[in-house]
């Protein structure tokens, strides 16, 4: 199928699903749940078709409102959507995890009220993330970023009868709104200076005339997007938001939101807009410094947690550190083979971590749902009564540490290898981070395999709608782990090549004009 024809349906289907949810809701509970599953399933189908099309044919450009982005002038006047392989990987990741999270919610959320709003919001969250991944327009990017952020504020505080939901929601909302306004300010500065909002045309204008304004705008973008990705000095909202949110939502927050809204957007802006207009080395080292702090702080804080979901939240911060490290080295060693491998590792790890952290969060949700506690001190001996869940957790934990037969190994290996070549100190820091990470997960597993606690004896494995998403994710992790280098060579390295080829990104829109 032609990717060009299906790209708009990536936005149309979730929008249609979200807008019709209040009407479908009138038909009752079953209709609403079926509707949410159908909509996200259809989005997954479109997302996979789009990924295949982009992988086959390269960059895809779609103009809203006409055939060509150029008007009668020779510069783009319309909103364009531009999907390269990196964007397509993100689309596949979002639609897959989004679908599984919705299926999981059928069982997990059934004791809550106000579920019509819940399903509307979760579809809107997915819509916002898809929009960020496909857009080629800076203001369009901001709008989708806000759609994503506002939906996630509302979803974090969804259980508004618990104190922690409200507290985390308020914290996340205040911090996130400030971060968003930084990004808006950066966009306003760029628009005032260069008079365009199309990413590719802006890249041309920037290369012709690099100004101080552009650097100020870049600083604002980096600050705002590091906030959104939960990098270290500003990770505190994340550690509160993830435990407080329903588990299906924390799977989407940890797995997707911090990567699309943070890592993807940062990569897109740095590679595709700023490209060669600023010193890549300087920017790369700025990112590397934050990455090292994030690595150590996130993983070290994970070790001392007693709350299962808080541990997973800090572990997400730590893994974001790896991705940022890969991104930073990819920038600092731009154009060399080391940089390419580091960037491939970062993209690969983004995808892998989305799967593993979604799996682990969903399992944490199962444990909370069955036992009503997140305290690791009360969870000993879970392996006796919930064997399937524990086994899936074992797979997820081994993958996140980076055990060889699983998918986390290849992506982390690429990052270790490139960081050791680039600068041995960075390699050592990455290893220390992994040591902490291992300690944290071994601690959880040790608890699970310990002597059964009275509370645990009554627990059972969950029902099908909650178990199947977990099984699918675990199988995906294992299967991806069997072909690590094939995936790396066929998908991740070409994605990096496409990302570094800024000229192709620009000329896909401007078409030689």
């Amino acid at each position: 199928m032609n990717g060009h024809e299906i790209l708009p349906y990536l936005i149309i289907i979730p929008l249609f699903g979200a807008f019709s949810m209040p009407i479908v809701n009138l038909l009752g509970r079953k209709a609403r749940e079926a509707w949410a599953v159908i909509i996200t399933g259809a989005t997954l189908a479109v997302g996979s078709a789009l990924f295949y099309s982009v992988w086959e044919n390269g960059i895809l450009v779609y103009t809203l409102g006409a055939k060509s982005p150029l008007g009668q002038a020779n510069f783009p006047i319309r909103i364009v959507w531009e999907v390269d392989l990196f964007g397509a990987i993100m689309v596949l990741m979002v639609t897959l995890v989004g679908f599984l999270a919705v299926v999981y919610s059928l069982g997990y959320m059934k004791h809550d009220t106000g579920l019509d709003k819940y399903y509307t919001l979760i579809i809107i969250l997915e819509l916002g993330m898809l929009g960020i991944a496909i857009t080629g327009d800076l203001f369009n990017f901001y709008v989708f970023l806000e759609i994503m952020s506002i939906a996630s504020y509302a979803l974090v505080a969804f259980r508004n009868d618990t104190w922690e939901g409200i507290e985390a929601g308020i914290k996340y909302m205040f911090v996130g709104s400030i971060a968003s306004s930084f990004i808006l300010l950066g966009i306003a500065l760029l628009y005032g200076q260069y008079g365009t909002l199309t990413m590719s045309y802006l890249a041309v204008k920037l290369a012709q005339n690099p100004t101080v304004t552009a650097k100020v705008a870049l600083a604002l973008f980096i600050a705002g997007l590091l906030f959104k990705s939960g990098a270290s000095p500003v990770h505190m909202w994340l550690a509160d938001a993830h435990p407080a949110a329903p588990s299906s939502i924390s799977a989407m927050l940890s797995g997707l939101v911090i990567k699309i809204g943070g890592i993807y957007a940062l990569t897109r802006i740095l590679f595709s807009i700023y490209g060669h207009s600023v010193s890549m080395k300087t920017v790369g080292w700025v990112i590397i410094i934050f990455a090292c702090i994030t690595l150590i702080v996130g993983n070290a804080m994970a070790v001392i947690q007693n709350d299962m979901k808080r541990l997973l939240a800090y572990s997400s911060v730590g893994q974001i550190g790896y991705i940022l490290l890969g991104l930073g080295i990819g920038l600092a060693a731009y154009g060399s083979q080391t940089g390419e491998i580091a960037m491939a590792g970062a993209i690969y790890h983004t995808f892998n971590h989305a799967l593993m952290k979604a799996l682990l969060s969903l399992i944490a949700g199962v444990v909370i749902h069955q036992l009503g506690t997140r305290d690791l001190n009360e969870l000993s001996g879970l392996a006796k009564t919930m064997p399937k869940t524990t086994f899936a957790f074992l797979i997820g934990a081994a993958a996140i540490i980076g055990m060889p037969p699983l998918n986390g190994f290849a992506s982390k290996w690429l990052i270790y290898e490139s960081s050791a070549i680039f600068n041995p100190i960075l390699g050592a820091i990455a290893i220390i981070g992994t040591a902490f990470c291992t300690a944290a997960y071994v601690k959880v597993l040790y608890t699970f395999f310990g002597r059964p606690n009275e509370r645990v004896m009554k627990a059972r494995d969950p029902e099908g709608s909650m178990l199947w998403p977990i099984i699918i994710l675990a199988v995906a992790i294992v299967v991806m782990g069997l072909f690590p280098w094939q995936i790396s060579d066929k998908v991740m390295i070409p994605a990096v090549k496409a990302l570094e080829n800024q000229l192709a990104y620009i000329s896909a829109v401007l078409g030689g004009a």
């Binding site: 149309i12 249609f16 979200a18 807008f19 009407i23 009138l26 779609y62 409102g65 055939k67």
Partner: protein, 144 residues
């Protein structure tokens, strides 16, 4: 509220509503549009809530109806955007090939799908704001 407020609200609410509808309908000709007009009409709803009180509002407000209307507003917007899918998403086919809304620029029936989108946004904003404000007004009690 007192008698004077209620009586003047009776007189003013239709005026605000008509003015808001005017802003929505002339969105493609004069300043304003769906959001501004919708917010103006919502102002009429809020004046009703404030002047006549929560009990009266409860009789006239139907949650399902308002959220369904909000959804319909969104769907109408999306539908208008999809009319020209043969060329592109958001392609203004009504303006380029008719059959209606393709009059002379400056007249009411011009600008293709824009009047439809303004009506849709106006409906969505009005129902959304009234629902939000009513929900806040209905919020349980002062103390827990």
């Amino acid at each position: 509220m007192g008698l004077i407020v209620k009586t003047s609200a009776r007189a003013i609410i239709p005026l605000i509503g008509i003015f808001g509808a005017y802003i929505v309908m002339h969105g493609h000709l004069t300043p304003g549009g769906g959001f501004q007009g919708g917010a103006t009409i919502a102002g009429a709803g809020i004046l009703f809530l404030v002047a006549f009180g929560l009990d009266e509002m409860r009789k006239h407000y139907n949650k399902n109806l308002y959220s369904a209307l909000e959804g319909i507003g969104g769907l109408a917007f999306l539908g208008a955007a999809m009319l020209g899918m043969g060329v592109a998403f958001f392609y203004n086919t009504l303006w380029h090939n008719g059959p209606f809304f393709n009059g002379k620029p400056g007249t009411l029936l011009s600008a293709g799908f824009l009047p439809i989108m303004n009506l849709a946004v106006g409906l969505k904003v009005f129902t959304g704001l009234v629902s939000a404000l009513t929900a806040i007004a209905l919020y349980r009690r002062w103390k827990s």
